[in-house]
């Protein structure tokens, strides 16, 4: 087999794995957009907040310690204990649910029936507010997150591919685990929305608010639920990305990577978010591999956005988005 083709295969595989991570972030957007029509600008910050909270709890950090020390003149920073990963994750889920409830009760509840642009602005405000709170709560240093996900080259794939092609593929264990986690998450979400009472109610609210009210569904409850689920998805994305590149404030920028994914996949489609993520992941890696050397590299930074732009011109609803039909 020609060498170039073997390289391309490795690049494609790596692209698929990167795509899964993009899809993971995009999923959170789709969930909230579908159920409430809100484009949640704060989704990236939610992931950051979740990851920081998780690390903070694991390391036994005292929340708001800077603030407490400044006001009371103490020097406390840590409780002096470490919380095991699983327990910390459970606690963080609790924090995200609480956050979802606060967002609904303090912000979104008062904006019911407003224009989408106003809801969008509210989420921008929420994003900056949350970023500030995260900073105040847990400090701004870069932290490493280790909940026990395996990392480093997968030797089995390396050896197997070496035996077949005479060239060992470099696939990161973390990427493989992330793919499995994402698959489980999506399967879980689908099962939830298809087979549970709350999932049915969630789909109903996504479809028609009035009708949902008339069959006895509380919109408030469903929106808290949706924000909780989005918070949970953000936590998963935060764990994977945080493990990969450390928990730091630039983590919230992964939201920017999700935008082109959404434009490709459509804002209302869960399969769209996945396929869109995979296309962008594979596309940018292959493009870099094939065209990058000709233009001096660094195409990964812009490829996704150019692709999204093309989609906006030729198919604005995305691959799987709801069709835009205008009736006259």
């Amino acid at each position: 087999m020609p060498e170039q083709l073997v390289f391309a295969m490795e690049v494609t595989l790596n692209g698929l794995m990167a795509g899964v991570l993009y899809a993971l972030v995009a999923l959170g957007f789709v969930l909230i957009y579908k159920a409430s029509g809100i484009f949640n600008y704060a989704q990236g910050v939610l992931a950051l907040f979740a990851a920081m909270t998780l690390v903070g709890i694991m390391q036994g950090q005292v929340p708001f310690s800077h603030l407490i020390n400044a006001v009371f003149g103490g020097h406390i920073t840590h409780f002096g204990w470490n919380v095991p990963g699983a327990v910390a994750i459970a606690l963080t889920v609790g924090v995200m649910v609480l956050l979802a409830w606060l967002v609904q009760v303090l912000v979104m509840k008062h904006l019911v029936g407003q224009e989408p642009i106003i809801l969008f602005m509210a989420t921008i405000g929420l994003a900056y507010f949350l970023e500030g709170v995260a900073d105040l709560m847990w400090g701004s240093e870069i932290k490493t997150l280790d909940v026990g996900l395996p990392q480093g080259i997968n030797l089995w794939i390396d050896e197997t591919t070496f035996n077949i092609f005479g060239y060992g593929f470099f696939i990161d264990n973390l990427d493989i685990v992330a793919t499995v986690i994402a698959a489980l998450l999506v399967a879980g979400l689908v099962a939830f929305s298809q087979y549970t009472k709350q999932g049915r109610a969630m789909r109903a609210v996504a479809d028609d608010h009035q009708a949902a009210l008339s069959v006895g569904i509380s919109l408030n409850f469903i929106w808290v639920l949706v924000w909780s689920v989005a918070g949970f998805v953000a936590l998963v994305a935060g764990i994977v990305w945080g493990t990969k590149s450390g928990v730091q404030f630039s983590l919230s920028l992964i939201a920017l990577k999700a935008l082109p994914v959404l434009m490709l996949g459509g804002f209302t489609s869960i399969p769209g978010a996945i396929v869109g993520g995979l296309i962008i992941g594979v596309g940018e890696k292959l493009f870099e591999f094939a065209v990058g050397p000709l233009v001096g590299g660094a195409t990964e930074n812009w490829f996704a956005y150019v692709l999204a732009l093309l989609f906006l011109v030729f198919r604005p609803q995305g691959l799987f988005g709801e069709k835009i039909i205008e009736r006259v």
């Binding site: 049915r200 109903a204 479809d207 949902a212 008339s214 006895g216 509380s218």
Partner: protein, 272 residues
């Protein structure tokens, strides 16, 4: 006047029970506009009660007051003799009051079956976690609800479209699916907002038949709004007539038909 618990016999010989829902001196304003002005009436168990009136008379507003979408500034709503505090629409629905909408509010993305199933949501008691942990119980519950839903689907003759996405259905069938969803909740009171609006003659006849059959078969108490006089007179046991937010008539179709105020409102006597 009848006592609240007394029953009466209709013109076609059916016996109607005591009061289910009583509206007492309801006034509803939107800013300076008075949509409903000091209206009182009751709905009795097992009857088909119509609210009629010309366009803009406040009929839909009245239905929205009953179903909790609007909260009146003055007056009391009594359900089964108890004063109802101001409630959100979903709380009213959970009390056993189901409704349909003038402009059809269905879940367009779901199949007919799924739409009708949402009417059963309040009968699904198993929580999120027990659903995940104890599959058997959740399945038994699902089967039970499915049986009720299938019976209603059969009854309204929409078996052939059970799996069709609602968005693809013609108008008349959508109205029927909406009725099915409301019925699936096995309501104590069923509110129909212009069930025959925009239908052709044949569809109207079908819908009338279904409304009568529902009332007859399940004993459902029905309150409906309609501005087609002919249809209303054939269907209903008692009629409230509204005009410009006021009640101008209340009684059996025959009584109402001979009421001078009602005749004036419909023929358009000038209001000065």
């Amino acid at each position: 006047m009848l006592d609240n618990s007394e029953s009466y016999v209709t013109e076609d010989g059916r016996t109607i029970g005591g009061v289910v829902m009583e509206m007492k001196n309801i006034t509803l304003r939107f800013g300076g506009v008075v949509a409903i002005q000091d209206i009182s009436f009751d709905i009795r168990e097992g009857e088909i009660r119509a609210i009629i009136g010309p366009n803009g008379a406040g009929k839909s507003s009245m239905l929205n007051v009953i179903s909790g979408f609007y909260v009146p500034q003055e007056g009391e709503v009594l359900f089964h003799g108890k004063k109802r505090p101001p409630m959100r629409p979903y709380e009213v629905a959970r009390q056993g009051i189901a409704r349909t909408f003038q402009n059809i509010a269905l879940f367009e993305g779901m199949s007919v079956l799924d739409n009708v199933m949402t009417g059963r949501l309040n009968y699904m008691k198993t929580g999120l976690f027990s659903q995940a942990l104890w599959k058997g119980k959740a399945e038994a519950e699902e089967t039970e609800n499915r049986e009720v839903v299938e019976r209603i689907i059969d009854f309204l003759e929409i078996q052939h479209i059970r799996k069709t996405p609602v968005a693809r259905l013609p108008y008349g069938l959508k109205k029927r699916v909406e009725l099915a969803r409301a019925l699936a909740a096995e309501p104590k009171l069923l509110l129909l907002d212009e069930p025959m609006a925009g239908m052709n003659v044949e569809e109207k006849e079908d819908m009338s038949r279904f409304i009568l059959d529902v009332n007859d078969e399940f004993g459902t108490t029905i309150a409906l709004i309609e501005h087609d006089m002919g249809v209303v007179m054939d269907l209903s046991d008692r009629v409230v007539v509204m005009d410009y937010g006021k009640k101008i008539g209340d009684g059996t179709p025959n009584e109402v038909r001979n009421n001078q105020d009602v005749i004036d409102a419909y023929l358009g006597v000038s209001h000065d």
